[in-house]
């Protein structure tokens, strides 16, 4: 039997030094990648995205198994949307080459952040990992992922698959790394390390706030709590279908999922009936109270409910609902902080309040966002542009989905907003970014500016490009200097764009998304 005889010293928890080593490696990788040309970058981005998309199904299944959240088929959709989907959305855009403005005599040279530290949530684990990796690769950044501990296995597998594909396509070694065993001290060490150039934090408010407190540049996004106004001009059938589909999507674990429906009294009953036809179960008063106690015991959201299906949640409350129930609708009267149903619900329980007029509904939407979700998103279903304008101007959010489900609307999958897993909540939401997170947020530009005097002519910069394709693996394998000719360098790297079957697979997958989106919209 050994008994340590010493007083415990101040010791850094295991894993912290390893985290620092990852940053140092990322620093080298980022410096190398910042010199790459656009063609190579595109090849790398395609390779990484295809590697994820090819295993979208497997990762979706593993994510649900590991976290217990969400719906496999919906995660497949998100995994594809956040890998090849994102790449397609930005295809043709160039975040690498200098941009020349001959009129103003300014040339803007993209300058990557360097080392991006990405904190990713348990709710959309693989999709967010993939999304942030793709953004980092497009903008020539190195990225270190710190996944939510509940989803660390599947996130590691996904990040490694993307890293391998990226490096095989010519990316610098270590360009994508993932913390396999995240812990609070380790995350703190990574966040506060001065070699971390920017933190992109998605997760609960504490994570986001501590990212901002770290002293490093941070892009953090706050929680949502989405109010949905339905007025008497709305097409009730379509509206009900869209809301229920969206609320049921991945069992409501997108932060963009609907929280409370605010229905104009004139159409409220009709809307509830339509909800029921779409697979929602409208709770009676006692049932609603039982659900409230189960989902918000002692008034606090029970995280066991996150991403669970409606039938299971009803069972936990001792209720039997039809087996096909996708959403539980909970009617209540008063939108105030002490009413749990007025808070964010990352599960398919949908609040429902009635208002005498649409104008009154705007006030209620504001009341919901006073509780949480400022800066995030809201939705409106209406045929009245005047009301839509008033609503959008009055509610403190930065995106309003109109006549579309908010889950996939605000995240740009069913609207033309930039597709994202990271919703900037702007000043109202205490964030530095108000748009959907997109590649441009991970670069700065160096602008070279000529004398504005017309006599000072800016010569032609077209065709000048400081970036080059790497000549081989980066870094080169350290072969002895007297043996470089017949060096046994590890197998030469793959240089074709992407192989035939991957291309086919991507077409296949693209078709799949389109079909799924159609199905979603048709319903």
């Amino acid at each position: 039997m050994s008994e340590m005889t010493y007083e415990p010293l101040m010791v850094e928890p295991a894993g912290v030094p390893r985290g620092r080593a990852m940053i140092e490696r990322a620093d080298w990788a980022a410096r190398a990648y910042a010199k790459y040309d656009v063609a190579t970058v595109n090849r790398i981005v395609d390779a990484a995205a295809s590697a994820l998309a090819a295993r979208a199904q497997e990762f979706a299944r593993d994510a649900v198994a590991e976290t217990g959240f969400g719906v496999v088929e919906h995660k497949v959709l998100k995994n594809v949307a956040c890998s090849t989907g994102i790449v397609d959305a930005y295809r043709g855009q160039d975040f690498v080459s200098p941009e020349i403005d001959d009129v103003n005599k300014i040339v803007a040279i993209p300058r990557p952040a360097g080392v991006v530290l990405a904190l990713t949530p348990s709710t959309n684990p693989v999709a967010t990992v993939s999304f942030k990796i793709i953004l980092a690769l497009m903008t020539r950044n190195a990225i270190i992922i710190s996944p939510h501990p509940m989803a660390k296995k599947v996130c590691s597998a996904a990040a490694k698959a993307m890293a391998e594909a990226a490096v095989a396509a010519g990316a610098p070694d270590g360009i994508i790394q993932i913390v396999e065993d995240p812990s609070i001290p380790l995350i703190n060490a990574l966040m506060t390390d001065e070699r971390t150039d920017v933190i992109v934090a998605t997760g609960g408010s504490p994570v986001v706030r501590s990212a901002y407190r770290s002293g490093n540049p941070a892009i953090g996004v706050g929680p949502g709590n989405v109010p949905v106004l339905v007025d008497s001009t709305a097409d009730i059938q379509k509206t009900a279908a869209r809301i229920i589909e969206s609320k049921a999507f991945d069992n409501s674990i997108l932060c963009t999922n609907e929280s409370v429906v605010i229905a104009e009294e004139a159409i409220a009953d009709k809307l509830l009936s339509a909800f029921a036809r779409e697979g929602a179960y409208v709770l009676k008063d006692e049932e609603r109270d039982a659900i409230r106690n189960t989902v918000f015991p002692e008034g606090h959201f029970n995280i066991k409910m996150v991403g669970k299906d409606a039938v299971w949640i009803a069972e936990q409350a001792g209720l039997k609902v039809p087996a096909k129930t996708r959403v539980l609708v909970a009617p209540f009267d008063l939108v105030v902080p002490e009413e749990p149903f007025a808070h964010e619900k990352l599960c398919p329980v949908l609040g429902f309040v009635r208002v005498p007029t649409a104008e009154r509904g705007i006030d209620i939407a504001r009341a919901i966002l006073r509780i949480t979700g400022a800066g995030h998103s809201a939705a409106i279903h209406s045929a009245n542009p005047d009301l839509i304008m008033k609503f959008s101007a009055a509610v403190p959010v930065l995106r309003v989905s109109v006549n579309v489900g908010n889950s996939l609307g605000a995240s740009g999958i069913q609207t033309n907003l930039p597709t994202t897993m990271t919703i900037g909540t702007g000043f109202a939401g205490r964030s530095s970014v108000g748009e959907n997170l997109q590649p441009k947020h991970l670069i700065n530009y160096t602008r070279l500016a000529y004398n504005s005097d017309v006599r000072e002519v800016m010569p032609a910069f077209a065709g000048l490009n400081p970036w080059v394709a790497p000549a081989g693996p980066v870094p080169a394998y350290p072969t002895a200097s007297n043996d470089r000719n017949n060096a046994q360098v590890p197998a030469p790297i793959h240089r074709e764009p992407i192989s035939q079957d991957v291309a086919e697979l991507r077409d296949e997958i693209r078709k799949l998304i389109v079909e799924e989106l159609h199905a979603l919209i048709k319903n």
Binding site: M4, T5, Y6, E7, L9, V11, E12, P17, R18, A21, M22, E24, R25, D27, W28, A29, R31, A32, D173, G174, V474, P475, A476, Y477, P478, T479, A480, S481, N482, D483, N486
Partner: protein
Amino acid sequence: MTQEHVAAPEFDYGLFSYDSKEQMLDKSKEFWNPGKTQFWIDSGVPLVIDRREEYFIYDMSGKRLIDAHLNGGTYNLGHRNPEVVQAVTMAMQHFDIGNHHFPSLARTALAEALIKTAPAGLSKVIYGSGGGEAIDIALKTARHATQKRKIVSIIKAYHGHTGLAVGTGDDRFSKLFLSDRPEEFPHVPFNDLEAMEDALRGRDVAAVIMETIPATYGFPLPNPGYLEAVKVLCEKYDALYIADEVQTGLMRTGELWGITKHGITPDILVTGKGISGGLYPIAAVLATEKAAGWLNEDGFGHISTFGGAELGCIAALKTLEICSREETRSMVHYIADYVGKRLAEVQATYPDWFVGIRQNGVILGLEFAHPQGAKYVMRHLYENGVWAIFSTLDPRVLQYKPGILLKPEVAEEMLDRTELAIGKAYAEIRNERRS
């Protein structure tokens, strides 16, 4: 009792203090080593290392130097690496040097870790307190295993200055102490396979001992296939192959052990210097089951009180773990790539002065076109904030050994300073030649 106000000494180190650097150097000559102390003063490198952290050392004067010598890799992980410091400090609450007579917790743990990361076939570990002792152990082990006495080494090899090791090296150090024994320690020219075969042909050789890249000789690189062929000759003539990895191990070549880049499984491998983490002396010999037979025959055959001191084992365990990390290997590849490319650019500027770059990973020998060229460069490097040493056995060549955890910005600064110093040394030599 009157209170006299005494000025605090300028250099106060707790248990001792000095009034000035001059005083310190005087005492160094008086009580310690006058020859060595004077040598550095005369060489224009009056360095007395005071503060040290990461890859920086500070002279008593406060002058900062980037350490690109690292004492042959002793400070591979930087000076006072915080992880190793923490491990050893923690361990000191429980362990001490240990008792070399008994089975030991830390010695066994380190032995297991070494064997798990070593080239296949090596299966036993024997400890020394320094590289030289470990080399002696390796030579004794080979003699026992083969029941032969001769040890073949390379002309200008350096394996340490202990009893047997000194015989494998340059005459300068053995003759001084009347320790040269040419009959037992034949030396053959490096990269000369014929000479090697001639030395082995009599089948009376216990072992060939080889630095994977001879450090003190200025890192001349083995010709492609040379080491491999030596290993084959060893097999042919029943001699063991001893890989001295004291300077080439621990990821310096971009692989944990340099010898694995040659695909060679040595019969015996020696590690020292860096394995200590720069904090607690330790060295180790790794041997195959066949070579290490004496451990069964007489386990007390080699006795060393401090060999494998348990605190050293802790330092070594942590060091080995850090060196084996995927991140570390990746960084070494980046550093080697960067340093190599920058130096090639410098070489292009001074093609008839800076005439060669010998490189394998972050092991570099820089050749200059003057018999004492590296001494000039060393002095200008010192003046410009970099510490790197000339090769004792070939002073044309500068040993240039950047750290394996070097940060990019320090690497850049080191190269900026190096480029300047190489230029200044060139100017000085040209002036001398002109006048």
